[in-house]
């Protein structure tokens, strides 16, 4: 995967805009007024969960060696290439629910309307058009971001070095203070 959805839980308000946008983009009509009366009901593939004092949007992580891909007996869960998101081919899903059992994040679900396994497809169609996934676009606070892995690593590295400098400076200060005394 060259780009991943990164979640910054410190920014999440729990507004559930991502859930709404997700259900909408996966509905038949893709129009809110029509989607709410659609049958079967459009399903969201991202869930905002309350965890301690935080709200956390949880969706498929599109794992590198995805356990769900490995366990599916019919090959219904696949990724087209190493760079592509993990998607479900409904026509092959026999509903055995092994993927629900094996997902380390518990994000695979069988919808109430009992069709194939529902999981985040990273808005493949939108990605192909150069757009961001619907949840990322809808997020008002920037909790959800579509970032390339390189960028993630770069940011992390920068943050880590800043932290390191801060700590070192703090140490230096206390040292010099002691020396001064």
């Amino acid at each position: 995967m060259d780009k991943v959805i990164v979640v910054n839980i410190e920014k999440c308000l729990g507004c559930k805009s991502c859930e709404l946008a997700c259900a909408l983009v996966h509905s038949k009509s893709k129009v809110l007024e029509e989607a709410i009366v659609e049958s079967p009901r459009p399903q969201r593939m991202v869930t905002v969960e309350a965890a301690e004092e935080f709200a956390v949007p949880i969706q498929c992580r599109h794992c590198e060696a995805a356990p769900c891909v490995g366990i599916c007996p019919t090959g219904a869960i696949q990724r087209q290439s190493e760079q592509a998101p993990v998607v479900v081919d409904e026509d092959l899903c026999i509903g055995c629910k092994l993927c629900m059992l094996i997902c380390p994040f518990g994000v695979l679900q069988i919808g109430p309307e009992g069709r194939a396994i529902i999981k985040c497809d990273m808005c493949l169609e939108r990605l192909e058009k150069g757009q961001e996934p619907a949840c990322v676009e809808a997020c008002p606070t920037g909790t959800l971001k579509l970032v390339s892995l390189k960028e993630v690593i770069k940011t992390r590295r920068r943050e880590a070095s800043k932290q390191l400098v801060k700590e070192t400076q703090a140490k230096e200060k206390t040292k010099s203070r002691k020396n001064h005394k």
Binding site: P40, T74, C96, L101
Partner: protein, 460 residues
């Protein structure tokens, strides 16, 4: 050119056909099936609950998919005879008799519902659900009904019960012993029964319904001498292998009554393979051949049968049964053996209770899951696991699955077992060793698990 005929068009048959065509692209693969709408089983509950109305929405293995793999679909067609000497399969296709010659064949004729000998079980209003038509009948009968009685013990029977409850029906759930008997330990079963009862599913456990009564259609059932008025009875009482065709050509059956196969899924006649609900399959833990009519095993066995039919030589060490479902807000996972299935294969097991209720954050008692059980054999290796959770149970279930698959040592496993925030080892200091006595298993007779190295590689 190799000609491969697959008989049966559900998960095992279709996977066999696709795998055969992929294995040997020059082969000519044909599927003979009566089933016009192969569908995914969880779809029945959705149909009954009214979430969907079109069979196309739960259909799997579309004709287009088969065409992509160059698999020829003969439907509706019924195989009437196999002549293994001349290698000819006779079929009825569109009302005409045809003869297909083959080099290898796969039998995936599935199973049919096992109807218990209850008086009145043949009455109008008693439904089963192994075919799409059966499911459609339940939908039709549920329309005017106010009450339904489900007789069964498995996941799909429970799903149907939940769907009928969603339709606003009064639902009774009858099971002779206890729910999910083969999948869960007795106390886990009972605690789930209680939970379902509280949610409005009226459980009638411990005794089978003695009579289904009514003039010519169902009007009532008798349970423990009590009369319960209902117009709809759904039978989810298990599966019986459909072996008439195989038996007709002299293929041997195993002790379970299903088709006997070897580790290549080949039957007693060379060149004829079998998979799915009509055949036995090797159990990963013990290597013994057992009858386990589970979709995922059927599909995996079908793949192996198909590849071998196409000329490969693939052997399986065995399949690990793993099932999961969410019923009335409870996630239920069962992996590998339960004490019930262990008894059937003479495997001595010990049941351990994983207690996680002491896992507190800042002194608060939080429960990451409701119930968890580990089953170990005499060497302390994990052979089965069960888990009940309200939410996100799979973050533990996947670890249990891996442990059973690898036959991990219990103590080592507990050290590694973790959940996102903290290790579980501390919470397990007072691990309760509940003792489920496995009766009728003599010390000498009790099997220990096959060597661990063989367990590492699963069916792939």
């Amino acid at each position: 050119m190799r000609r491969i005929v697959v008989i049966g068009g559900s998960a095992a048959g279709m996977m066999a056909a696709i795998a055969a065509a992929d294995e040997n692209t020059d082969a000519e693969v044909a599927v003979v099936t009566q089933d016009q709408t192969p569908y995914r089983r969880p779809g029945i509950a959705a149909l009954i609950a009214g979430y969907i109305t079109e069979p196309a929405e739960v259909r799997v293995f579309s004709p287009e998919r088969l065409a992509q793999h160059n698999v020829k679909l003969l439907c509706p067609a019924e195989a009437t005879n196999i002549d293994p000497q001349n290698k000819i399969i006779s079929i009825q296709h569109d009302g005409k008799e045809e003869h297909l010659s083959y080099d290898s064949a796969v039998i995936a004729t599935g199973g049919h519902p096992l109807i218990p000998p209850i008086t009145g079980a043949d009455k109008d209003g008693v439904c089963t659900f192994t075919t799409y038509e059966g499911a459609a009948e339940i939908v039709e009968k549920a329309k005017g009904a106010s009450c339904a009685v489900i007789i069964g013990a498995g996941f799909i029977a429970l799903e149907i019960a939940e769907a009928l409850m969603h339709k606003g029906l009064d639902v009774y759930f009858n099971v002779r012993s206890r729910i999910l008997r083969k999948l869960l330990e007795p106390d886990v079963s009972e605690s789930l029964s209680d939970k379902f009862n509280r949610k409005g599913l009226k459980m009638l456990t411990g005794e089978a319904i003695s009579e289904i009564g009514g003039e010519d259609r169902v009007e009532y059932v008798i349970y423990k001498g009590r009369k319960i008025a209902t117009n709809l009875v759904v039978m989810g009482t298990g599966t019986k292998p459909n072996v008439a065709l195989a038996a007709g050509c002299g293929i041997k059956m195993g002790p379970s009554g299903a088709i006997k196969v070897d580790n290549r899924m080949q039957t007693s006649i060379e060149g004829i393979y079998a998979a799915g609900d009509c055949a036995e399959s090797p159990d990963l833990g013990t290597g013994l051949f057992v009858y386990s009519p589970v979709g995922s095993i059927g599909a995996s066995a079908g793949k192996i049968a198909g590849r071998n039919a196409a000329g490969a030589n693939q052997k399986t060490k065995g399949f690990l049964r793993a099932q999961a479902d969410e019923i009335l807000g409870m996630q239920i996972y069962s992996i590998g053996h339960s004490s019930t299935t262990a008894k059937e294969v003479n495997l001595a097991v010990k049941v351990h209770n994983l207690d996680a209720s002491r896992l507190g954050q800042r002194g608060r008692t939080t429960k990451p899951f409701e119930i968890a059980r580990l089953l170990t054999d005499r060497n302390g290796r994990i052979v089965g696991a069960q888990l009940v959770a309200k939410k996100y149970g799979s973050q533990f279930a996947w670890q249990l699955y891996r442990a059973v698959l690898e036959g991990a040592n219990r103590e080592q496993f507990l050290e590694q077992f973790n959940w996102p925030r903290m290790k579980l080892t501390e919470a397990l200091v007072d691990l309760v060793e509940s003792t489920v006595v496995v009766e009728n298993v003599g010390e000498g007779k009790a099997l220990t698990l096959a060597d661990t190295a063989s367990r590492k590689k699963i069916n792939q």
